[in-house]
Amino acid sequence: MIPLSDFLIVSAGLFCTGLYIILSKHNAIQILIGIELMLNAAVLNLVAFGKFDRLNNGGQLFALFAIVLAAATTAVALAIILNVYKKYKTIDPGKIDELRD
């Protein structure tokens, strides 16, 4: 049997990698990838704890909900990124610094 703490250590590593990607990259798409990585780390935690809930499937079902939520937010975020690119010709979040149109 694989101990629960091993799952949690892997998940913590993935989460911190995602955090590093978000903080250090200058490209909106890469930042989105970092967010997805952090979401996946959270889903791994849900699934690992969900092993101990056979009757109600709490962890697994909320992992499912989190995956669907990630899909929906990614679609909207990519539409926003494409619009920003059309307007500013760059997707570096540090360079998009004016609000008026």
Binding site: F15, A70, A79
Partner: protein, 182 residues
């Protein structure tokens, strides 16, 4: 060491290594394809946590949907960004990235510390679940139980999720429509 354990550590290594490669990679396309490997390894980890349905969903939605969407947006956002990305200074460790690296490492240490302080393998509710035989065993068929629970106990979050999906669909269509001259 059993087969499952060996597979677990292999998958964990692949997931972490490819995630680090995504963080360190110079080119965006390469990091997107490495992210593909990370997601596959994570699906393998879900299988080893006895959640086979979640693993299949992960492959279908993440790899079939999100990753293709990211590649699509990337191809649409043009050649110039690609050229800009190649030029920028992208070493893994440089002065500008030191704070990000520091924060990530410290956060990791905090999480590991908490994990060992709480003694996660012997939590009260976990030992209760084991005592009541409320634990998945590898021979269980889980999918029918998931379906029943989705339609009874978790019906409200399910419906909320469907409304949210509809909102996201309308929002994405609204954002990406052609601008009319007002």
């Amino acid at each position: 060491m059993t087969m499952a354990q060996a597979l677990f550590y292999l998958m964990a290594f692949i997931a972490l290594a490819s995630a680090l490669f995504v963080a360190a990679s110079k080119s965006l396309v390469r990091s997107v394809f490495m992210f593909f490997v990370t997601l596959m390894a994570l699906a393998g980890l879900y299988v080893l946590a006895l959640a086979d349905f979640i693993a299949i969903t992960q492959i279908v939605i993440y790899i079939g949907g999100i990753l293709v969407l990211i590649l699509f947006a990337f191809m649409l956002s043009g050649r110039e960004t690609l050229a800009n990305l190649q030029q920028q200074d992208n070493r893994f460790i440089s002065i500008g990235k030191l704070p990000a690296l520091l924060l990530a490492v410290v956060f990791f240490m905090v999480m590991i510390n908490i994990l060992f302080k709480t003694d996660v393998n012997h939590l009260l509710w976990l030992s209760k679940a084991i005592a009541h035989k409320n634990v998945f065993s590898p021979s269980d068929a889980t999918v029918s139980n998931i379906g029943i629970n989705l339609m009874t106990r978790y019906l409200l979050p399910f419906e909320a999720m469907s409304i949210l999906l509809m909102m996201a669909l309308i929002g994405a269509a609204h954002l990406s429509r052609k601008e009319k001259k007002a």
